[in-house]
Amino acid sequence: MISLIGVPNIDFIGLRKYAFMLSTVLVLLGIFAFVMITLGKAPLGIDFAGGVMIKGHFAQPVSIDALRSGLTAEFADATVTELTDFSMPNAFIIKSKRPENEATGDLRIKAINGIIEKNFAGNQFTTVSEHSIGPSVGESLKKSAWLAILLSIAGILVYIWFRFDFRAGVAAAIATFHDVLAVAGVFYLLGLEFDLLIVSALLTLAGYSLTDTVVVYDRIRENTKRYRSKADFVPTVNRSINETLSRTINTSMTVMVVVLTLFLFGGEVLRNFSLALIMGVIVGTYSSIFVASPIIVEWEARNPRRFK
């Protein structure tokens, strides 16, 4: 039998002060990021902001700076990134956001192609994909993204409330919010774009982190029944976390293995998506131990009522 951990006896609850400090910082960062998103100041993907994206490759090598400066002269917000893992060399992604109206997208693509043709005459640029999204699509997509976020939070809250109690529901929801905010905050810090795939990743990690929390809560409930004395609540929670620790780590490992694979080999489309999930696995594991359970402990200390 290989036991990475066996049944350890770590005082996780005792560490909650440090955890709360770290979590407060992460949550504030996340709230800041969401405020910036609502104000339209965070970088949004073209699916939310509207805009055009062109992927293509040159026949001969070009300098990314030359390509970028030529484009930003015309479209100030144009961004250029090199597509390193495409099957052809000298491949780039060009983006330009926030078209004035629905018809601009097509004109902008033509304009960008024109600039490239002019600046790199004799160096054939082959487009492999182009995407143009009008502002109205972005607006409605934003709406449905918020709707999906609210819907999943409400669904989760109701389910946890139904299966445990109100307190556990709130605590689990806080832990889940914490994870989503933390990852969104780090994303904002890194200057990465928020697009539809990132929203999906945030929702997925919400579900995942909640799974972790539920496993611990289930064990707390079971252990509370077994060791009835109320004075024992903190040790019971600690015991529950320790007993489920081996499972928590193993599941985190298998999920981490697959999201790392996605990050490394899944290609450019899934890069930020899998990055968000990697962070989600880390934060989700952390929060089910250091956030979800300590909240229950604190609540219990202020307003004693047996966990059920």
């Binding site: 039998m1 290989i2 699916d47 992927k55 495409f86 099957s87 052809m88 629905e102 018809a103 097509d106 492999v128 994909s129 995407h131 143009s132 999204i133 009008g134 409605s140 997509l141 449905s144 993204a145 709707l147 999906a148 999943s152 669904g155 989760i156 389910y159 946890i160 299966r163 539809l196 795939l197 929203v199 999906s200 997925t204 919400a206 579900g207 909640l210 799974t211 972790d212 539920v214 496993v215 289930d218 489920t244 499972r247 193993n250 599941t251 490992m253 298998t254 999920v255 981490m256 293995v257 697959v258 999201v259 694979t261 996605l262 490394l264 080999f265 899944g266 290609g267 489309v269 899934l270």
Partner: protein
């Protein structure tokens, strides 16, 4: 559940899954040479296989995705009703002629239309086809004498063209064309008739018409490559023939190519035009298009029609589409129909012929198109929508367009395939390393999980996208959680000194509540993601949902069945 049941149920599921996944498996294991061989033996067989297999999203196979908005604000409030449906019909009509294998055209929200053209990357043509407002025109069909004048000329031009390209033997002895004089009885009761509302509505079935014999092999003759591929079908009640021909679907691209040759175009006078029908239909057991020789002059415009309404008439329940005309255009229509009784009038939507009803009477103010005996309700409904689309054209604008080249698609497929393989192997190895024999059993469960997931995707006719592949990979990591929870429980039970048998039972039993609770939360987010709506994300949500659901089955039925065999042992490798 007893052991017998578990094994039986799993056996049934494996068989069902194999059936569901079989076509996909066949398709994915074919290489290019195999596909070519299949196509040679039986044309269209690869396409049919594709239609039965898991579909690939545009991001994986390349193609065009367009979102249209119907500009309802530019229509009168009374005209807004059904405007999106009319626009959809127009788009569908245009796309049907494009030869895209599996186009998707669907309504989204109140004013949007999503058009997916997998495998099609000619963005200019697609834009032109999809983004334009419908134009419905009425044109007269040319007469047979005119057609007979130009058909031989087209034939000789095509012969010369083919000789120049070395497509046919240079010297051919003129053989009697198999495509003349053979009379055959044609039941053209599908043909619509156009008549004034007040007139006698009894239907006279068209008599037999002389037709060219249809060339089954689809090869045509060498001397008359063009005309031998056409077979006349259009005739009026007094047996006068008109230049409307059936063309075998197989021959359609070829004929179309010839008609577009500059040297052929030069032969046809400016006031005439060849036009295809919008849709193909099945006649004498083969799929055919209709080709018409029309007078180019626009006799009447669809926008003057009003009060278009589908109704049944007569005792037999025949279908007809009624319409009205008022004001000045009414007089012109009366004049047009009065002067052309017993001649076909072509209803042309966007340069394609929708129908060619025979004019039965002078139509003043109010008329109807009778659909003919074998027309289905859908045919009539289509006619109604077409007329309405022309009468009340719905202006559209393109609000999103995504063009994915085939290279990018195949690049993504490769990445998706390799990362799923790597992810799968790593998870299998990790679990086997950590839980030993039990880990191998969990691995078997995981493999079943992936297999069932693919089968469900195939069975649901789901579309596989790059995020969908990410969902499959993520599911591999998440779905072993059930087994991990069970194994950890069994370990705990063993530690308390329980026997193997008792530990397995207790482990499975105690883990259940936790597994159930924790999986539901993932399912809730998967449902929310599905409702988020956009195509690729839907693919992700579907795979996540089913992957997690199946993992409950594999853990409690499949791996449990194997574990029950291990209860007899003294020790357990877990």
């Amino acid at each position: 559940m007893s052991q017998k049941w578990r094994i039986g149920l799993t056996a049934v599921m494996v068989i069902v899954a194999l059936l569901a996944f079989w076509n996909t498996f066949k398709l994915w294991t074919l290489n290019e040479a195999d596909k070519k061989g299949m196509e040679d033996r039986e044309p269209g067989s690869v396409l049919r296989l594709q239609q039965k297999a898991i579909r690939l999203g545009l991001d994986l196979q390349g193609g065009i995705h367009v979102v249209l908005r119907v500009k309802l604000e530019e229509l009168e409030p009374a005209q807004r009703d059904g405007a999106v449906d009319r626009a959809i019909q127009v788009v569908r009509n245009r796309i049907d002629g494009l030869g895209v294998a599996e186009p998707v055209i669907q309504k989204e929200g109140t004013d949007r239309i999503i058009v997916d053209l997998p495998g099609y990357t000619d963005k200019e043509r697609a834009q032109e086809l999809i983004g334009q407002t419908a134009l419905l025109q009425f044109k007269m069909v040319a007469n047979m004498e005119t057609a007979n004048l130009y058909l031989p000329k087209v034939d000789s031009a095509v012969v010369a063209y083919r000789k120049a390209r070395g497509e046919m033997p240079v010297s051919t002895t003129p053989t009697a064309s198999n495509a003349t004089d053979t009379a055959s009885k044609a039941s053209n009761d599908v043909m619509a008739e156009l008549m004034g509302k007040t007139n006698d509505t009894s239907k006279t079935k068209s008599d037999s018409a002389k037709m060219f014999e249809y060339d089954e092999a689809g090869t045509g003759s060498d001397t008359e490559p063009f005309s031998s591929r056409l077979s006349l079908f259009l005739s009026s009640n007094n047996n006068t023939q008109f230049p409307g021909w059936y063309v075998n679907k197989k021959d359609q691209p070829l004929i179309d190519q010839w008609l577009n040759l500059p040297q052929v175009k030069a032969l046809i006078p400016q006031d005439l035009q060849f036009s295809w029908s919008t849709r193909s239909l099945v006649r004498d057991g083969a799929e055919k298009y209709e080709l018409y020789l029309l007078k180019r002059k626009v006799e009447f415009l669809g926008k003057f029609l009003e009060g278009i309404r589908l109704h049944t008439q007569g005792g037999a329940g025949g279908l007809a589409v009624g319409f009205k005309l008022s004001g000045e255009p009414s007089g012109r229509f009366a004049q047009l129909t009065g002067a052309n009784i017993d001649k076909p009038l072509a209803i042309v939507l966007d340069d394609r012929v929708e129908s060619s009803p025979i004019i039965r009477s002078k139509i003043r103010g109010e008329g109807q198109i009778e659909m003919g005996g074998s027309a289905t309700f859908d045919d009539a409904r289509n006619m109604e929508i077409v007329l309405k689309a022309g009468a009340l054209p719905a202006p559209v604008e393109i609000i999103e367009r995504n063009v994915v080249g085939a290279t990018l698609g195949s690049d993504s497929i490769k990445k998706g395939f390799y990362s799923s393989m790597i992810g799968l192997l790593l998870v299998l190895a990790y679990i086997a390393f950590y839980y030993r024999v039990s880990g191998l059993i969990a691995d078997i469960g995981l493999l079943f999980n992936v297999f069932f997931l693919m089968a469900i995707l195939a069975g649901l006719g789901a579309t596989l996208t790059m995020p969908g592949i990410a969902g499959i990979i993520l599911t591999m990591g998440i779905s072993v959680d059930s087994n991990i929870l069970i194994f950890e429980r069994i370990r705990e039970e063993l530690r308390t000194g329980k026997t193997v048998r008792a530990a397995i039972d207790a482990g499975y039993h105690r883990a259940f509540v936790t597994i159930f609770d924790s999986h539901i939360t993932t399912l809730i987010t998967a449902v929310a993601l599905f409702l988020l709506g956009s195509g690729p994300i839907k693919g992700f949500a579907i795979t996540l949902f089913w992957g997690v659901t199946i993992s409950l089955y594999t853990a409690y039925i499949i791996t449990k069945a194997i574990f029950d065999f291990r209860k007899q042992y003294e020790t357990l490798s877990v």
